[in-house]
């Protein structure tokens, strides 16, 4: 059953991605509408998949890299759909959908998790921790994509080279606004996620903070985004500099998400979550 829901979601998300790519080339509104609703359908199946996994595992379905990537992809689509309601920015989908599908493709290539879930993961605190952290990550991903769009658009206006992107991308003010809002909300979610994570750690392992590599790097990520937000709010950083900074921050975030687990280990890493008996 899991495989069925997963593959259905993947299918619709890939279809939507194809549609969004056609849209950015052809710029026909019906193509967008089609892709958007296909993405919504994919998102619904994806949600069903996650809910189904949750009901089986009785824990947030993020305990190995496969499910973490799929959950990340789900969060990004969720953030995009919410942003679309606020900004009605069609072109953003052409950047978000391929990114989300890319994560899903990697996820689909990975093995399913075997064995039962240790009772320590069946905690509401963990679920809240995971959902808020991933929502934060997803919003930062949107900020990252908006930053890339900003840099492309800024380059063409600044250097007076009007390529095919100039007409397709929205105004600089809009892109900077998206970057700003996703930063603010993303930062709030990440903060809540880290707090609930440490509360969960207190319940599960008896300590709020244990200098695990993932914890340390999450803190580094948090500090990077805090610095960016601070510069934006007090000095009035905006535009190009803020865009570059949010790309750098997202690089740190991706390293925390993938690199730390892979190279540094620690109790957060996916191998350990599956393998070790008790923590």
């Amino acid at each position: 059953m899991s495989i069925l829901w997963f593959n259905t979601a993947l299918f619709f998300e890939l279809l939507a991605t194809a549609g969004f790519i056609v849209y950015i080339i052809k710029q026909q509104k019906p193509v967008f509408k089609f892709s958007y609703w296909i993405l919504v359908v994919g998102f619904i199946f994806h949600t069903i998949f996650l809910a189904y996994r949750y009901s089986i595992l009785e824990a947030a379905p993020v305990l190995n890299l496969k499910s973490a990537l799929s959950f990340f992809s789900w969060s990004i689509i969720c953030a995009y759909l919410l942003f679309h309601i606020k900004f009605n920015l069609r072109i953003l989908g052409s950047f978000v959908a391929p990114f989300a599908s890319f994560l899903m493709i990697i996820s689909s290539a990975m093995p399913w998790m075997n064995g039962h879930i240790k009772p320590v993961f069946k905690s509401l605190w963990l679920t809240i921790h995971v959902v808020t952290v991933f929502m934060g990550d997803a919003l930062f991903a949107i900020a990252f994509l908006a930053a890339i769009m900003y840099l492309i658009q800024e380059y063409s206006i600044k250097h007076k080279k009007f390529g095919s992107f100039y007409n397709r991308l929205p105004s600089l003010a809009t892109l900077d606004g998206i970057n700003y809002y996703s930063l603010i909300y993303g930062f709030s979610f990440l903060t809540i996620g880290m707090i609930t994570g440490s509360i969960y750690a207190q319940f599960a392992f008896g300590t709020y903070w244990q200098w695990d590599p993932k914890e340390v790097w999450s803190l580094v990520t948090w500090l990077c985004y805090a610095a960016l937000l601070h510069e934006r709010l007090t000095v009035g950083w905006r535009g190009r500099r803020a865009a570059i900074m949010s790309i750098v921050c997202f690089g740190v975030l991706i390293f925390t998400f993938l690199g730390v687990s892979h190279w540094m280990g620690g109790y957060h890493s996916f191998e350990n979550i599956g393998a070790r008996g008790a923590l």
Partner: protein, 431 residues
């Protein structure tokens, strides 16, 4: 056989002076239309007269004679001898005329391809001809189709999209930077036709806060009045840079009015809000290095011209798509025009059926007199729908054959089969 004919001149074939001398008289459209009504050879007609073209569009059975009459009418109205402008005229007939009017409507034939005014001017010309009762079945259809072509060309292609004038290009850029201009403040330095035009365009996009600076304060006050703006002295420009978002410069100054240091110093105080300089002065008023500062964009007159050239090229690209739309619509119109030949036969077919029904109902009057009015109504309805159903297939058949070369023989057969030609007389006799 009715022909559609188009005679006229445009910006390519005739000089402004010639167009003007003809156009001035055409502006008085009711008089020209009245003289067209007097020409028996011309069935329907209308005049299009804009600053770039003077054209007559008409239908006639004798194209050769009608053309001569129209040209002599032109020379009479414009008060110029025929031979002085006949070489500037172009003539299109039938489908070429249809294609031409379609191309004019979607501004493929305009000086600036894709300009939107021409459609309004054609609509006006058509409205005049409707008012003057010089348009009929064919022109009505033709003009409505040309409006339709123009609409399609706008929705299906980008022919009208990109700006092709300096002031519009500047406004488009401002929108790409600021998204909305409602809450933006504009500083206008110096005066001049182009900068004032740009300021007007900015205002029409929502800007309502304008500050005007000029070397002579009196002039600033004068210009400020035009836009209900606030005049400031030249020395205040540096302070204003903290406030405004868009700076439009067009002074005759030989040196830079706004220097790199001016702008660099104000950026932090502005909290890095974007600043857009539109410098349409030659020599330039804004130091070009300012463009290197982040969140500051400087466009001079050459940059804007570069955009316009690009956009014109893009419009040329789009024009190819529009030509295809025009071609499609010409084919559709041709098809419709041919169905016109079927119409008289269809009409007489229907008339005959109606006449038979009326005659038969009259004959049965005594038998039907006992029926109630609603029953009589029902019988009337019944007989009409029977005749409709019987005629439906032959009519559809004729319409389908409308664009075939064999049409005439089918029309003949139909006339003989239903005895249509003599029939009229018989029924009239009975009445």
């Amino acid at each position: 056989m009715i022909k559609i004919v188009n005679i006229g001149m445009n910006h390519e074939t005739a000089t402004v002076e010639l167009r003007e001398s003809l156009a001035s008289e055409y502006k008085n459209n009711s008089r020209t239309l009245a003289s067209i009504r007097e020409i028996d050879l011309i069935e329907e007609g209308l005049f299009i007269s804009t600053c770039n073209r003077v054209e007559a569009l008409f239908t006639t059975v004798n194209a050769l004679e009608a053309k001569k009459l129209i040209i002599s009418l032109m020379s009479r109205l414009g008060n110029i001898p025929e031979n002085s402008f006949s070489s500037n005229l172009y003539t299109y007939e039938d489908m070429d005329a249809v294609r031409h009017i379609f191309r004019v409507a979607c501004s493929l034939d305009s000086m600036v391809v894709g300009e939107p005014q021409i459609l309004g001017q054609i609509k006006e010309a058509y409205a005049q001809s409707v008012k003057g009762k010089t348009s009929g079945v064919i022109l009505n259809r033709l003009m409505h189709r040309s409006f339709h072509v123009a609409k399609r060309s706008r929705t299906e292609t980008d022919i009208c999209e990109a700006a092709v004038s300096i002031s519009y290009a500047a406004v488009e850029l401002a929108k790409k930077i600021f998204h909305v201009l409602d809450d933006k403040k504009v500083l206008l330095i110096g005066a001049g036709e182009m900068s004032e035009l740009t300021a007007k365009h900015l205002m029409s996009q929502g800007v309502h806060s304008i500050v005007v600076a000029n070397r002579t304060f009196e002039r600033a006050v004068q210009v400020a009045k035009l836009f209900k703006a606030q005049p400031v002295s030249f020395e205040e420009i540096e302070d204003q840079l903290l406030e405004v978002d868009i700076v439009l410069t067009s002074t005759a100054s030989s040196g830079y009015i706004i220097t790199y240091d001016h702008v660099k110093n104000c950026l932090r105080k502005r909290r890095n809000r974007p600043l857009f300089f539109i410098d349409i002065a030659v020599p330039r008023d804004v130091q070009p290095e300012i463009n290197n500062l982040s969140n500051v964009y400087v466009y001079n007159i050459d940059d804007l011209r570069g955009i316009i050239d690009l956009n014109k090229k893009q419009r040329q690209q789009e024009a190819i798509k529009v030509e295809r739309i025009v071609q499609e619509e010409v084919v559709k119109f041709e098809k419709w025009l041919k169905t016109l030949e079927v119409v008289p036969t269809i009409v007489s077919l229907r008339e005959k059926a109606d006449a038979i029904i009326q005659a038969e109902i009259r004959k049965s009057k005594p038998a039907l007199s006992s029926l109630s009015p609603s029953e009589k109504q029902a019988i009337k309805k019944l007989t009409f729908s029977i005749s409709e159903k019987i005629l439906n297939d032959p009519i559809l058949f004729l319409k389908r054959k409308a664009d075939r070369p064999s049409l005439n023989s089918f029309l003949d057969v139909t006339k003989q089969l239903f005895n249509l030609d003599q029939n009229k007389g018989n029924i009239d006799n009975e009445d």
